[in-house]
Amino acid sequence: MEVPRFWRETRARYNLEGVRCGNCEKVFFPPREVCPDCHRASIGRMEKFKLSGKGEVYSFSTIHSAPDYFKDEVPYIVALIKTDEGPMVTGQIVDWEDGEVQIGTRVESVFRKISEQGKHGIIQYGFKFKAVRRALK
């Protein structure tokens, strides 16, 4: 992804910053300018809203066949995360062990490298998720 295109979305990518509709209070991620329920009543009333990064796995897939820009990562898991604040978010799950990720697994967001644009290009960072494990005594 080109530098400006990546840079435009860094607030949302780095901080999981979405919006909340000032009219119906529903939360959206990625940010939207207009609430799909409230339409014009929401214009100018979509307020910044940061997700906690906590949620659970709604569905997932372990990818074995990837596009060229991700092929060094295989196998990797892409998941739909139902966040505690409501929005569903697409992201990778990292640091997983076999069988650990299931529908319903609790996860939290982590800040990680997403991809590199070749040897001389920028490195793109953003959110991924990892399973919440019970603390070891």
């Binding site: 992804m1 295109r5 979305e9 990625p30 709604y58 569905s59 997932f60 897939s61 372990t62 990818i63 074995h64 066949s65 990837a66 596009p67 060229d68 820009y69 991700f70 092929k71 990562e73 990797y76 892409v78 998941a79 739909l80 929005p87 569903m88 978010v89 697409t90 992201g91 990778q92 529908i103 997403i114 991809s115 793109q124 953003g126 991924k128």
Partner: protein, 388 residues
């Protein structure tokens, strides 16, 4: 609105056609349809061309006049328009051509679909297909089209008890149908063992759950029903056309075990046609992934929600089953040039309704339906056809 008929069809074989360029495929399919309709190029009044990604795939945009020119229409200066809606581009182009004829704007119209996939390698092609998803918020994170369908499949398995065997039976059935179709990319049957033991693409989807990425082109000629018998004894009327859209990203949908765009496009098409799903004798549905066919037969109303997988496993979707689906072999076996897929579906329905589908002929086929999906279901186009 005038009634509209299909009076001619043409297509190339689908597959890895190393020796064929986008223009040579467009010419073969276009001339095939012109010949089938018994018209002259000079009879044509407009051209519509469905194509998903020629810019990314072969760095060629501006496709409609290019193909129009090489089909021999360059000096006619015809109105020619390219239509894009990912792998629903063909169905969308058909809808535009249908509207042009129905409205009275044009009488005889050529509508084609074409894609040249295999000039790029597999990894590149996977990335280009993923451009049908949300680049900023799905693809950026590594999602591919197979993985997005895989997440739908996993939920379908979770919510309805759909099994890998049910997914596999879609592939087995469509390869069986492909074995009866001389234009199919894959003309060999596969066994359930082969399907279940094939390599994992995006778990739980395996290689045989995914359609190939193919080269190919397909074309139709449309005209008003009132003129159709000037050209053919067996015109096929377009009874209804329905188009619906949804969020590009899966994560913005209410459910991912069903495509709202398919349900709504189907309602619109049934309403326009004045029929229900019960009147449909056969269908070509979007089986770019096996789970897509299972969701389609549910969303179109043929089977209850959650029962599509069992229907596949029980053989109901075979040409001799209770609801024949993808008699051509579908995208799975006939092949899958994304921009041509929707037109190829219509070509198959026309053959079936005319009764010239040879060994794969569905008995007593009178009404057929084609369902063409873009990406993970942000676009669905449904067309209903009847032989008259």
């Amino acid at each position: 609105m005038r009634d509209v008929a299909v009076i001619g069809v043409g297509m190339t074989r689908f597959g890895e056609l190393w020796d064929r360029s986008i223009r040579s495929m467009g010419i073969e399919a276009g001339l095939g349809a012109i010949q089938d309709a018994g018209i002259y190029s000079t009879d044509l009044e407009a051209l519509y061309m469905g194509n998903m990604a020629s810019g990314l795939l072969i760095k060629q945009e501006h496709l409609a006049p290019l193909i129009g020119d090489f089909v021999g229409m360059g000096k006619l200066h015809l109105p020619a328009t390219r239509i894009e809606g990912a792998d629903a581009s063909g169905g969308l182009a058909l809808r535009q051509a249908y509207i042009a004829v129905a409205s009275g704007l044009h009488d005889i119209v050529l509508v084609g679909g074409v894609e040249k996939m295999t000039d790029v390698g597999d990894a590149r092609a996977t990335g280009i297909m993923a451009s049908a998803a949300d680049q900023e918020w799905e693809t950026f994170h590594g999602a591919t089209l197979p993985s997005l369908y895989a997440m739908m499949a996993r939920r379908h398995i979770h919510e309805f008890g759909t099994t890998q065997g049910m997914l596999g039976s879609v592939a087995v059935t469509n390869h069986y149908h492909g074995s009866l179709n001389p234009m199919a990319q894959f003309q060999r049957e596969i066994t359930m063992e082969m399907a279940l033991e094939s390599g994992i693409m995006a778990d739980p989807l395996r290689m045989f759950d995914c359609a190939p990425l193919s080269d190919g082109a397909a074309t139709l000629i449309l005209c008003p029903v009132s003129r159709a018998r000037e050209f053919t004894d067996k015109p096929v009327k377009i009874l209804g056309s329905g188009l619906a859209t949804d969020s590009l990203a899966l994560h913005d949908r209410e459910t991912i075990t069903s495509l709202a765009a398919t349900r709504i496009a189907a309602q619109r098409a049934y309403k326009r046609a004045g029929i229900t799903f019960r009147d449909v004798d056969l269908a070509e549905v979007h089986d770019s992934f096996t789970i897509g066919e299972i969701m389609a037969v549910e969303d179109l109303g043929f089977f209850e929600s959650g029962k599509g997988g069992k229907a596949a496993l029980d053989g109901e979707l075979r040409i001799d089953g209770s609801m024949p689906i993808n008699p051509s072999g579908g995208m799975k076996a006939r092949g899958f040039p994304p921009g041509a897929a929707g037109i190829a579906q219509a070509v198959e329905i026309v053959h079936q309704l005319r009764g010239d589908a040879d060994r794969r002929q569905v008995k007593d086929a009178r009404i057929g339906l084609a369902q063409n999906v873009g990406g993970t279901g942000a676009t669905t186009v449904v067309h209903i056809f009847e032989v008259i």
